[in-house]
């Protein structure tokens, strides 16, 4: 990017307090992918940014970029959608935070993928409108597909044979897909996967986002998918997600 003022459509991924009254922010933008910027005086000024820079906010961003600094200087932020229902429900907010942390960890600065922003905005909107838990699974598989990490699920990733219903199948994050029983030896740590879940996930990866509501996976598929996808994501980014731990904590606290 050349030095100058830019305009971008963005979702706020993270916000860190910096110095007396500034904030350091991470955005995912339509035009430039993931970028990081500083908003001077964001914590003090009542008028300039109001609540527009809270994580999950969908905004029109105006920022200044100069080669001298890694951080963009945030000049203006106009709210497109604040997803206000999310902010009054900690369960919804933590699910939304999971989506944005996932995007933040799975993407790199300087690589623009407009579909990622569309996906994120769509799913935040669905959560805001009261979407169900299975949204997170759909989001994970779609994000993996867009970023080119989609695991191989239509057959055994090692011997390329189709998975059969009469013998057990496993999922190996290390191999990047499903493995048949024979190939599962020596594939590192594996998780059992049912044919139904494998089918559900490969279908969810291709389905039109607007029609996702038509897929009604049962609880067993969802639980299996959660375990498999998170293991795979953890393997890809090489660490645990804070928001995943938070979701687990909240789940245990409500029992």
């Amino acid at each position: 990017m050349k030095r100058g003022l830019y305009r971008a459509e963005a979702v706020v991924l993270n916000s860190l307090d910096y110095s007396e009254s500034d904030r350091i922010l991470t955005f995912y933008t339509l035009e430039h992918g993931k970028i990081r910027g500083i908003a001077k005086g964001a914590r003090r000024s009542k008028k300039r940014f109001v609540g527009n820079l809270d994580p999950t906010s969908h905004i029109n961003l105006i920022f200044f970029h100069s080669e001298k600094s890694e951080l963009m200087r945030v000049e203006e932020a106009h709210l497109i959608d604040g997803f206000n229902n999310l902010k009054v429900d900690i369960d919804k907010l933590s699910q939304a935070c999971y989506l944005i942390e996932l995007v933040s960890e799975m993407t790199r600065e300087g690589q623009a993928a407009p579909q990622v922003l569309h996906l994120l905005v769509n799913f935040l909107k669905m959560l805001d409108d009261g979407g169900e838990d299975c949204l997170l699974r759909f989001f994970e598989i779609r994000l993996l597909a867009i970023l080119g990490y989609l695991p191989h699920l239509s057959g055994c990733v090692t011997c390329r044979q189709p998975l059969s219903a009469d013998s057990k199948a496993y999922f190996s994050s290390e191999k990047g897909g499903a493995v048949c029983k024979k190939c599962s030896f020596g594939a590192g740590s594996v998780i059992p996967i049912s044919l139904g879940t494998a089918g559900f996930l490969s279908m969810a990866a291709k389905f039109d986002t607007a029609k996702l509501g038509r897929l009604k996976p049962n609880a067993v598929f969802l639980e299996e998918s959660e375990r498999i996808l998170y293991d795979f994501i953890k393997h890809q980014i090489g660490k645990e997600l804070k928001t995943k731990k938070f979701l687990d904590k909240m789940r245990n606290a409500s029992l």
């Binding site: 993270n14 110095s19 007396e20 009542k46 008028k47 109001v50 609540g51 809270d54 994580p55 999950t56 709210l79 604040g82 999310l86 902010k87 009054v88 429900d89 900690i90 907010l93 933590s94 935070c97 999971y98 944005i100 942390e101 804070k242 928001t243 731990k245 938070f246 979701l247 904590k249 909240m250 606290a253």
Partner: protein, 199 residues
């Protein structure tokens, strides 16, 4: 040429304080070096003093050198109203106003999914214990109005509903001394939503 080792150590220690870089740390360290010995002794004693004498009040979880703290021990304050705040600074701001005669409860943070701070990390269990044992009539939710503060309040509201006590939330809207024409949409919406009858 490097600073003498004791000076260098002091600079490093000071620069770990929030908002202080190496330049400022160096200036402070050199000031301390040149200051009177009594002042430095007093500073050192005060530094240790806050760590040794200040602990959490067992009732409201505020920082205090007595247990219970001055506010919790004050019989003149209404023990049936608890104002729940996110941190110590918020409590001091409310106290500075001087109009509140109830008691406080300090959570020491907000629920923050992105930072991994869940209900277990906040002083929520202590709040519930207080409500169960002390005959509380009203809980005022006075956490911030950013996303984390709002969701913490919403979480507490849900959690406290079964106790059948009066639950209130601080008002939010147009600040004192400002004009309607300069307000942003979100603030105006809030102000309109929380309007009250006059007379």
């Amino acid at each position: 040429m490097q600073y003498a080792e004791p000076i260098d150590n002091l600079i490093k220690a000071i620069s770990r304080l929030p908002g202080i870089g190496e330049k400022t740390a160096t200036r402070l360290a050199l000031y301390i070096l040149n200051a009177k010995k009594e002042y430095v002794e007093e500073l050192a004693a005060n530094l240790l003093g806050v760590k040794e004498k200040v602990a959490l009040c067992s009732v409201c979880m505020t920082f205090s050198d007595t247990d219970p703290c001055v506010i919790c021990a004050d019989a003149g304050r209404d023990a049936e109203i608890i104002c729940v705040v996110s941190d110590y600074k918020d409590m001091m701001a409310l106290e500075g106003m001087g109009g509140f005669k109830g008691r406080y409860h300090i959570l020491h943070g907000n629920l923050a999914p992105l930072k991994g701070i869940g209900p277990e990390e906040l002083r929520i269990r202590e709040l519930l214990a207080r409500i169960e044992s002390q005959g509380i009539k009203e809980v005022i939710l006075a956490t911030g109005f950013d996303a984390e503060g709002e969701s913490t309040s919403a979480y507490l509201a849900k959690l406290l509903k079964p106790y059948n006590i009066k639950l209130t939330r601080l008002a939010s809207g147009i600040p004192v001394g400002s004009y309607v024409e300069f307000m942003d949409g979100a603030t105006l919406g809030r102000a309109l939503e929380g309007r009250r009858e006059v007379s």
